[in-house]
Each structure stands twice: as structure tokens, then as C-alpha cells.
């Protein structure tokens, strides 16, 4: 007896024959036909399907490009130009792929925001969220290596800058970098392995997407109210309601994407990448693609070495955060003892900074370097991505949706503004006031996860919640009708 016994037969004989042997149609009907889906999705819920469409687009165009591309330092640039000029519709395939990277990230960034705003990462969807952040991380690696393949100036120098980051790791750093390069500089061996990895990683992404969707279908979708589904009155079958809504949203998204492909295909790129890679000429400003700018700014925001005084100060603040802020039962933020801890560590941090920036003052110990700026930047950058993984444990407030959490909503929208500001800082040369703005913004980025969310989890009083999803929909309709009536009167 197999696991296939409680299956309902299909009328169509061919489908039934297949389904008896492999119940793929039963599965499709269950997961995409009848699948009970909250009835109150807004258009933010389109971006999962859109991201999926982008992944498929990237894989299909990418495989086609790989048929014509030559991964060799001497020929890569020319082979891309051959695709643009001599391969039938090669320019179309390449522009779809090139802009596709950007639009994949746009879809995924909106998808991540959706998850944060409506609390989709919370219990019981933590693992679903972690799989999502894993996809995001894999996408970053894939996109970075893909950008290297045309072997233009930005490809080459971007690869040089980013791979060099790993040299910041103590002791083994330089060895790791040479191992990644496959030589003593970014060269043909590097290009070859990046091509190989750029080809294979999307399939790893597809596998993690499968797990992500699987986990989603176990817990079911979240919804704009953040309330759990309480019964059939709260849901609609996925088909036709959400198949058609997803399709409509997807077409609108593709229309914007098409505007870039056909009318400004290079607007999101950098002109320098149409200059062949030249190890002897460094471009004046090495800038990553726009979707990395936020993390690039965080990387560059640590522009000072950490001295022991500073670290002692940070340690004190960290102790306070861990012991007082993160303890669910403590509210004695400003007890005398805690004020002393904060005061002393704040003072030490300040002294550490003053000593670091005014070496002529000769403050003891501040000339000692414990963590170099470069390593600090790398830690901050990876930390910024790492914090996304632990978000479900930073924000433990029982109410999911920001709709009913005005303070969380304000903090989150400000966080989005900070992420955009960091993106802007990342595009600016690291001089003048920009690194300082970057440092302050990085501070908020970290504090949002480590301080603001735990405090809000403990203290934020949520607005009254609707009784159910269905009730929320009815309330909304009533409000809309009242508004219409008022207008008519």
C-alpha cells in the first residue's frame, strides 16, 4: 500500500493514468488550485510570484547567453560584444538578463519589506523567513559574480575590491584571497571559476526557493492583518482568485521592466563597464551595482581602527543591551546601576573615538589597534545581512502586522529611509561628510534590530485587532461604503 490511497480520481483518462502513478495533478490541485489563501491580500503579495518569474527569466536568458559567451580574460569582453552585435537578438537576450538582475532585486527587496511590514517572519514562519534570507544571500553572490563576466573595467575592479575584503580576516585572510583568485591577482582563473559558479548558483537558489515555497505551504500565507486564518470564511481558493491577481500584477511589473530593456537598457549600469578590463588603469570611482550600495556604504562606514578603549565602551553598551534590553522581564533601563554602566561605557566609547581621531592628544591605549578598520567594515557588512536572519528573535511582539503597531510602523519606515540613505551614501565618494553620515545610518541599522525591536516587543501597546480576517474585510468594505455615501451626500 503506497501513500497514494486517499486520492480522488480525475475524469480525464490520461491525467488519471499519470496521477495514479505519480500524483502530481493531485498535488497541483491541492497546492495551487484549492489551496486556501487569506482573502485580504493587497498587491504587496504579488512580489513572491514576481520574484519567481524573474528567477526563471534569469535562468532561461542566462543559459542562452552561456551558449555564446567565452569565459576567458582575452575573449570575454569581445564575446559579449559579439552577442550584442552578431548573435540574432543577442542584444535582447543580454539586456533582458542585465536588467533582469536589477528587477529581480527590486522584486525581492519589496518582498522582504512586505515580510517585515506585516510581520510575516514571525512564529510560525521563522524558518520560511530564514530560507528567504538565504535566497537573498545566494542572489548577492550570484549577481556579484555575474557582473564580473563581461570583463569590463567595473567587472574587474569590482571583483578586485570585493575579493580583497577577505584579506581582512586575521591570519588566513591573504591565503583565502589567493585561493579565491586561483592566482596572485584577479585574472583568467578568477573569471573562469566565477563563470562556473555564476552558472550553478541559480540552480541552488531554485532549490532553496523550492524549500521556501514548501515551508510556505505548510504554514500558509500571512496577510495584511497578520491574524491567523480561523476558518473557511477567511480564505479563498488560490485559483482563480490569486492566479489572476498575480498575473495582473506580474504584467504591470514586466511593463516597467520592459521600459528599461527597450528604452534605457544601460541606465542602471555603469559606463565604465563598456571599457575592457585593464589591470593597469584604476577607474576614479569604483562603485558596485545599485542593489549592493546599502551594504557597500555599511562596509565603508567603519573607517577607523578599533582601539581597546572604544571596544571596552562597546562592550559595556553590549552588556547593557544583552542583560537589560533583551531581558523580557526587565524594565529598569534607567536604574542607578544601569545608568552608571551606560555612562561609563558611553564615556569610554567617546574617549576611544577622540583618541582615534586626535592622535596628537596621546590618550593612552588609543593608539593600539585591536580590529583594523577594514575588518571592522567587513564585520559590519556581514553583520547587517546576518541581522536579517535573526529578525524573528529581535522582534517578538505578539502582534504581527505594522497596521496595528504604530511605533513599529514608524521605526520600520524610518529604517527603510535609512537603507535608502545608505544606498545614496554608497554611491558617493568616501570623503567629506559622507562616511560620517554612513556611520550614523549604520548605527541606526544595527540599533533597529538590536535595541528598538526588543524594546518595542516588550512595551508597544497594539491597536485593537479585528476579530478575524473576514471581519477586517467587512469593516473595510463598510468604511469604503460610508466614504462613498458621504461623497454622494
Amino acid at each position: 500500500m503506497g501513500s497514494n490511497s486517499d486520492r480522488k480520481p480525475f475524469n480525464n483518462k490520461t491525467i488519471e493514468w499519470i496521477d495514479q502513478r505519480l500524483p502530481i495533478f493531485t498535488m497541483l490541485d491541492k497546492e495551487y488550485g484549492k489551496f486556501p489563501t487569506p482573502r485580504n491580500f493587497n498587491y504587496f503579495w504579488n512580489f513572491g510570484a514576481i520574484a519567481m518569474f524573474m528567477l526563471v527569466t534569469m535562468i532561461v536568458t542566462g543559459i542562452t547567453l552561456a551558449m555564446h559567451y567565452t569565459p576567458h580574460a582575452n575573449y570575454a569582453f569581445d564575446s559579449v560584444e559579439r552577442i550584442m552585435r552578431d548573435v540574432n537578438f543577442g542584444w535582447l537576450i543580454r539586456y533582458i538578463h542585465m536588467n533582469g538582475a536589477s528587477f529581480f532585486f527590486i522584486a525581492v527587496y519589496i518582498h522582504i519589506f512586505r515580510g517585515m511590514y506585516y510581520g510575516s517572519f514571525k512564529q510560525p514562519r521563522e524558518l520560511l523567513w530564514i530560507l528567504g534570507v538565504t535566497i537573498f544571500l545566494l542572489m548577492m553572490a550570484t549577481a556579484f559574480m555575474g557582473y564580473v563576466l563581461p570583463w569590463g573595467q567595473m567587472s574587474f575592479w569590482g571583483a578586485t575590491v570585493i575579493t580583497n575584503l577577505f584579506s581582512a580576516v586575521p591570519i588566513v585572510g591573504p591565503g583565502i584571497v589567493e585561493w579565491m583568485w586561483g592566482g596572485f591577482a584577479v585574472d583568467n582563473a578568477t573569471l573562469n571559476r566565477f563563470f562556473s559558479l555564476h552558472f550553478v548558483l541559480p540552480f541552488v537558489i531554485a532549490a532553496v526557493v523550492f524549500l521556501h515555497v514548501w515551508a510556505l505551504h505548510v504554514t500558509g500565507s500571512n496577510n495584511p492583518t497578520g491574524l491567523d486564518v480561523k476558518g473557511p470564511q477567511d480564505t479563498l481558493p488560490f485559483n482563480p482568485y490569486y492566479t489572476i491577481k498575480d498575473l495582473f500584477g506580474l504584467i504591470v511589473f514586466v511593463a516597467v521592466y520592459a521600459m528599461f530593456i527597450f528604452f534605457m537598457p544601460n541606465a542602471l549600469g555603469h559606463p565604465d563597464n563598456y571599457i575592457p578590463a585593464n589591470p593597469l588603469v584604476t577607474p576614479p570611482h569604483i562603485v558596485p551595482e545599485w542593489y549592493f550600495l546599502t551594504f557597500y556604504a555599511i562596509l565603508r562606514s567603519i573607517f577607523f581602527d578599533f582601539n581597546p578603549i572604544m571596544l571596552a565602551g562597546f562592550g559595556g553598551i553590549g552588556y547593557y543591551v544583552a542583560k537589560v534590553v533583551w531581558d523580557k522581564n526587565r524594565t529598569d533601563y534607567f536604574s542607578t546601576r544601569n545608568l552608571i554602566i551606560l555612562g561609563v561605557s558611553g564615556f569610554l566609547t567617546l574617549v576611544g573615538f577622540v583618541g582615534a581621531f586626535f592622535p596628537q592628544l596621546h590618550i593612552p591605549l588609543t593608539n593600539m589597534v585591536i580590529i583594523e578598520a577594514k575588518l571592522g567594515g567587513v564585520l559590519a557588512m556581514f553583520g547587517a545581512v546576518g541581522l536579517l536572519f535573526v529578525l524573528p528573535w529581535c522582534d517578538t511582539h505578539p502582534v504581527r502586522s505594522a497596521r496595528y503597531r504604530p511605533l513599529y510602523k514608524a521605526a520600520l519606515l524610518f529604517f527603510v529611509a535609512i537603507v535608502l540613505l545608505l544606498g545614496y551614501v554608497g554611491a558617493m565618494p568616501a570623503e567629506g561628510i559622507w562616511p560620517w553620515i554612513g556611520l550614523a545610518a549604520t548605527g541606526y541599522y544595527m540599533a533597529f534590530f538590536l535595541v528598538i525591536l526588543p524594546i518595542l516587543s516588550k512595551h508597544e501597546k497594539a491597536l485593537p485587532l479585528p476579530a478575524s480576517i473576514a471581519q477586517a474585510v467587512l469593516d473595510e468594505q463598510a468604511a469604503k461604503a460610508a466614504k462613498l455615501a458621504k461623497k454622494g451626500a
Binding site: 520592459a258 534605457m264 576614479p284 558617493m428 567629506g432 561628510i433 468594505q477
Partner: protein, 257 residues
């Protein structure tokens, strides 16, 4: 290109307002690029074949002495409106190396439409040696490879002025308003009357600069016309498709709303 230019100006202005830092001496002075009205701009833009042919003439007679165009074949000139016979004649003006033949010898022959544009120098070293150490960049992608695009290339061609006070030029250096950094190794390449036009177009340096920039814009994006025409069709299709899908969506959701 307009957008990136605007963005650059806006960002520069903002940066200057916010920090009031002096502009880096090494980066030179940034003059706003001329905002030209190119026929190939905009969603319905097309190349002007007469301008392309004149531009090719300027490239052939002036620029090609130092600048190669590695990505172009003579056959590509069909897009400029030349007939097959004309392209054969143009190609045959050049001698290229072929071989080895059946006896294993390399031999010279007139170029054919299937040959690449003949390069002015055997290699980069020879090009630098002939130009006082400066490498004349390849022109195939120049319009795509510079911030500001066609406006920038045109700007550099007409941007030669006397250096402002305090700027000392070295040997083999020239001052150019629009070249990023303002110092350029190339001497002013275009002068009035230098190239003879058959179609009555004014034979001025400014006109030469416009025409050759037009030609270079085509060389960088030969697919542009096809791309934009296809884009218009694709967007019309998507707009109609989206409207239909929206109507279907409304219909399906009617009973739940």
C-alpha cells in the same frame, strides 16, 4: 543620458551645498555638457542616415588615423544606407593581411565586406609610441563607455579652449572644457573645411563633430532602432494585456468584494 547628466549635476550641487568642500584640483573643472538634440534620443528615436554617412566620412578621413574601431566590419556599413557595391568599394580601399595560403605564406589582399575595420596600429604599444605615450581609445563603444554619452563625445570634440589661468599644460597636453579632468593628449582634431561634404551640409568643425558623434552613437548601439521599435510594440501589447487581465480580475473577484 539626459537623466544621468541631470543626476550628476544634481548630486554634485547637493554634495557641494552639504559639505562646501573645494572641488578636487586633480579632477579639473566640471562644465555642464551641451544638451544636444539628437535624432536618436527618445523612445521613437532613429539615426539620420545622411548624418551617419557624413560621420563615417569624418571618421575615415580624420579619426581613423589614430583611433581604431575593433568591433566593426565593413559589412556593418549597410546600416548607413550604402549599397553592397559601395561597401565593396569602401572595403577595397584598404589592404589587409590574410593567410596562411596553401604554401603557408601570409599575403596581402584588398579588404572585403566580411573583414573587420582596418586598425591604424599593429598593437597598443605601437599606438602609444606614435602618440607620445598616450593610447588613443578604440571608438567602437565610446558613446556607451562615457558618462554623458553622445553629448560628452560631441562636447570633447568642440571643447578645446585656452587653459584658464593657473593651469599649466605639459608637453603633449591640451585643455578641453568637457573632457573629464580637462587635460587631453589629443590635439583639436577638427577644423572648418577639413572634410569635403558632397551634400551641401556646412563644412564646419561643429558640423563634423555632430556628424561623427552621430556615427559613433550608431557604432556603439547598432541595434538601437530595432530595439526601440520592438519596445513600442511590446509596451502596447503589455498595456492591452494588463487592461484585459485587470478586467478579468475584477470579474472574478466580483462576488467576493
Amino acid at each position: 543620458m539626459m537623466m544621468s547628466h541631470f543626476k550628476k549635476v544634481a548630486l554634485t550641487a547637493l554634495a557641494l551645498c552639504m559639505i562646501g568642500a573645494p572641488v578636487h584640483a586633480a579632477e579639473g573643472h566640471k562644465y555642464p555638457l551641451p544638451d544636444m538634440d539628437w535624432s536618436f534620443e527618445g523612445p521613437f528615436g532613429t539615426y539620420d542616415k545622411a548624418a551617419l554617412q557624413r560621420g563615417f566620412l569624418v571618421y575615415k578621413q580624420v579619426c581613423s588615423a589614430c583611433h581604431g574601431m575593433k568591433k566593426l566590419y565593413y559589412r556593418h556599413l549597410e546600416a548607413l544606407g550604402y549599397s553592397e557595391a559601395q561597401i565593396k568599394t569602401i572595403a577595397a580601399e584598404y589592404t589587409v593581411m590574410d593567410g596562411p595560403n596553401d604554401e603557408g605564406e601570409m599575403f596581402e589582399r584588398p579588404a572585403r565586406p566580411s573583414d573587420k575595420f582596418k586598425l591604424p596600429y599593429a598593437n597598443d604599444k605601437a599606438a602609444m609610441y606614435a602618440n607620445g605615450g598616450a593610447l588613443p581609445p578604440d571608438m567602437s563603444l565610446i558613446v556607451k563607455a562615457r558618462e554623458g554619452g553622445a553629448d560628452y563625445v560631441y562636447g570633447v570634440l568642440v571643447g578645446y579652449t585656452n587653459p584658464p589661468e593657473g593651469v599649466v599644460l605639459g608637453n603633449n597636453q591640451h585643455y578641453n572644457k568637457f573632457k573629464s579632468g580637462n587635460i587631453i593628449a589629443m590635439a583639436n582634431p577638427l577644423n572648418d573645411g577639413q572634410v569635403t561634404y558632397e551634400d551641401g551640409t556646412p563644412q564646419t568643425a561643429d558640423q563634423y563633430a555632430k556628424d561623427v558623434t552621430h556615427f559613433l552613437a550608431w557604432a556603439a548601439e547598432p541595434e538601437m532602432e530595432q530595439r526601440k521599435q520592438m519596445g513600442v510594440k511590446v509596451l502596447i501589447f503589455l498595456a492591452v494585456f494588463a487592461m484585459i487581465m485587470y478586467a478579468v480580475k475584477r470579474k472574478i473577484w466580483e462576488d467576493v468584494h
